[in-house]
Symmetry: C2
Subunit: 192 residues, 2 copies
């Protein structure tokens, strides 16, 4: 039913934001119910536990990430353009990254510490980026080290997010994005 779907989506969306802004462990079942402003009965009808909500949040994030990567794939004329789309999410999301860090990295780090059963699922978010970047580097003619280049770029963007969050520094993000862009150009030069 339509209205039923909408309430479920509303719960997932509120939980997604709360998990990102204040962490999974720190967010209680009640916090989410309060944010959605529905009765406990209605809430329990959709989700029985916070872990169930987490799985739903991860699934939505996986689907959204997949859609974003497909959009970059279509819009970018060359593999280089597409990799630049990845690098530039640091700029597009700089205000949120400064305040809350990277949504993927901070969730995976938290679930690893909690030794949470959903950690492998959350890791698939990193995997989507890794595999997609690996394919772009392969298309650039770097098949021999495509995965290492993908991991290197993922690591650099993660590190920038962590420090931008700690120091609340957007200028640092811009400076590092410029360097990642130069690094990408040097990767391409090596294949010409």
């Amino acid at each position: 039913m339509m209205s039923d779907m909408t309430t479920r989506d509303h719960i997932i969306n509120s939980a997604d934001q709360l998990f990102y802004r204040q962490g999974f462990e720190h967010t209680s079942f009640s916090n989410i119910a309060d944010a959605v402003q529905i009765s406990r009965g209605n809430f329990y009808h959709h989700f029985k536990s916070k872990d169930e909500i987490l799985d739903a949040v991860i699934n939505v994030r996986l689907a959204n990430t997949q859609m974003m990567l497909e959009k970059w794939e279509i819009e970018g004329k060359t593999p280089e353009d597409r990799i630049r789309s990845f690098i530039n999410i640091l700029i597009a999301n700089k205000a949120k990254i400064k305040q809350y860090g990277c949504p993927v990295g901070t969730l995976c780090t938290e679930l690893a510490k909690l030794n949470h059963a959903s950690q492998p699922e959350a890791n698939r978010l990193f995997m989507l980026f890794r595999i997609w970047l690996c394919r772009q580097f392969t298309l650039l003619g770097r098949e021999a080290d495509a995965d290492a280049l993908a991991m290197h770029l993922l690591a650099r963007s993660q590190g920038v997010a962590t420090l931008a969050n700690a120091f609340h520094d957007e200028k640092f993000i811009k400076n590092e994005v410029k360097q990642m862009s130069d690094w990408l150009s040097s990767c391409i030069k090596g294949t010409e």
Copy 2:
């Protein structure tokens, strides 16, 4: 009194490990008391709240970091040697990083999400490394961009820790440490 100091240190040490391994929020006051195996009365005599323990843990980490940096300063004959000591902690601590991430980065990230009053204190851990690295790059003749180089290296080591933790991959750490070392050599070349 000697015995009094020892119990306090024992509490701080247990809390330090629990905060690192399972996160600050997820570690309860009781978890720490259980780990130390002392009575609640004795425990409360030393610390009234988990936040008090956190501050003590951060202070111990700050003191230990300061000592480590001073040791590197004395042992390293050149600024290059000293920066390599920093890069190599990723190798020295690779098993723990693979399992729990970087102790500094994961604590700062968690406290930022909790909007915790001790976040600025925890950030001073990053600051100690930043200032120390900045001084080494200045000594290398890179005074103009010493702080940017320090932040770049800190970010790279943070990113490596985050991904090594997510993918449980020690080989990746070694591969990236080699690249950081090459990057350092290229920084020095630029000054000759």
